[in-house]
Symmetry: C2
Subunit: 339 residues, 2 copies
């Protein structure tokens, strides 16, 4: 009795999506990372609720191993590839958190890791990556092409490339955080997620729409790094010059080839936040909730706190995506808001 036209449109959209990333992939990722990744806590603050005018639940991926959600995808990817074939080395290019995750996962799974990182990456992230025993190769963020460097290393050494976001196994791993969040708070009206290359939001939205089809998913980008917002508006992937923002994890020039069609299908809107709004929310969260979230990680919370959309009276899930932040940079940020 269904309308064949609607059914066909609906069916074809599902097929596009399912061909890249399905709920089954996320279930598999959960089994793979179970007992290795932390099941991070879901946090709540009456004071934040008052400030936001909504009921807000934070999935604290800043407390994940290696300090960010990235561990989930990296572990899922490398472990799954190990199940398929044999290799002794992995290579990744990353603005930092993905590098740390790949370095730690490699150590856990007994493979060598080489990381291609921008030379202006925060010192804490460089040090932490090296601290896990990985090799670091530096490149110029504003001039170099990290993908070319990474792929060259793969060709020369026969290693496994672990992309930061544009890979179904990476997205599926990232989506497990939202699956856990919805187990604890099943009746969310909104899910709000920071957007860089789109791996986190593609995985998160896939999980959220499966578990709660009526949920509205919003992405959040820095005002200066609005490549996904522009892409959604234009209906195709837009590339912008490497954006400058304090959110060093969100400095990606365009959404991914694989992540973008999923974002188009599942994400209602991308909200934009300023550096000042991220700093304010970061300092507030530290002072009131006693938890450190890095600028990229706080973008979702900043959008809710600064009411970038109408969340009034609603239940909102927010991903705090990471917590890796230099004490020196943190001190600078606190100096800007402290009274």
């Amino acid at each position: 009795m269904s309308d064949p036209a609607t059914s066909s449109v609906h069916g074809s959209r599902l097929t596009v999506h399912d061909r890249i990333l399905s709920w089954g992939d996320i279930e598999e990722a959960r089994r793979r990372i179970g007992g290795v990744a932390h099941r991070t806590p879901v946090m709540h603050s009456r004071q934040f609720d008052e400030a936001a005018g909504a009921t807000v639940f934070f999935k604290a991926e800043n407390l994940q191993r290696a300090g960010a959600f990235k561990f989930r995808g990296a572990y899922n990817k490398i472990r799954a590839e190990q199940e398929r074939r044999s290799f002794s080395e992995v290579v990744a290019y990353s603005s930092g958190n993905h590098a740390q995750a790949v370095a730690l996962v490699s150590k856990l799974l007994g493979v060598k890791a080489t990381l291609v990182m921008p030379e202006d990456a925060p010192p804490a992230k460089l040090a932490a990556t090296r601290g896990y025993g990985a090799d670091v190769v530096l490149y110029d963020r504003y001039g170099g092409d990290r993908e070319e460097i990474g792929e060259k290393l793969v060709r020369e050494r026969g290693a496994l490339l672990v992309p930061p976001f544009d890979d179904p196994l990476i997205m599926a791993g990232a989506g497990t955080a939202t699956a856990e969040l919805l187990e604890e708070v099943p009746d969310l009206d909104f899910l709000v997620v920071p957007v860089s290359g789109g791996g986190l939001i593609a995985g998160s939205a896939t999980a959220a729409k499966h578990l709660r089809p009526e949920i509205t998913v919003y992405g959040v980008e820095p005002e200066t790094a609005n490549d996904t917002a522009q892409s959604l508006e234009k209906g195709e992937r837009v590339a912008i010059p490497v954006p400058r923002t304090i959110a060093d994890g969100l400095q990606v020039p365009s959404p991914g080839r694989l992540t973008f069609p999923i974002i188009q299908e599942t994400v209602t809107r991308v909200l934009l936040v300023s550096d000042d709004e991220m700093i304010e929310t970061l300092a507030w969260t530290l002072e009131r909730m006693k938890v450190l979230v890095e600028p990229s990680g706080i973008a979702g919370a900043a959008a809710v706190k600064h009411r970038k959309a109408d969340f009034a009276g609603k239940k909102v899930g927010v991903i705090w995506s990471g917590g890796n932040l230099d004490p020196k940079r943190l001190a600078t940020f606190l100096g800007k808001v402290a009274t």
Copy 2:
């Protein structure tokens, strides 16, 4: 068949202790605060274990309501007194965290609160206390007598005085945190607790010795605020000039009349830490564990991290007692350690 002399000594010691504070008081406190106080998480860090050479579990009372363990005692005290008699106002004198706790509890239990606070208390603590709707009366920490001011207010207004530590109901409330910790990690070898007036350690040690008699309990004081260390050595309460230390919650000149005999009976030693050791541990904990603990709250962790006693290979429980810290002061501390 027991030696009557030993038995008598043992018996009399238990009687002294039990007359002040028993395990039953802590059980009653647990029932009273259940569902109101947070059951705070127990946290763990592989990296901290490596640094300390021990296996360390942190009871995160910095995540307690009003940001410190003080909520437990204040709620237990005010609620228990409400069960006994009728009053419409409470008065407390406090270096900050106790004030915030009393203010919040009063709001929850529908009584008016007046807080007597030192005029150099951190602005965040003054603001937070006023934020809960309490009246604040300021006094000079280095010249005034806060107890006199507090008692005068009690006489004039017929209010209930809520002392910061020297009260069995306050101690019993404080002890509930350790009862929770030992439920999650029953086989601790050591318990390490910051010491101010002694309410937290008296309650903690009473709970710990009941649940695990073989546990060793250490207190920790700042080097400049070693009144309890001196008192234990001398065998009687020693008063020192109001100590200057960054740990503003531990600036008490002597242990309490009621807390000290319990400390004598249950605490093996008081370890001393420097301001620099507290700052280093606070910054480390923030950067690596993503959690904010205030200087007073980090004293126990600083003692373990800086190996102030031999914890090698042991299981150690540490109370992070609070997390209320001005962003401005935090920025100053981070400036001292950031590289």
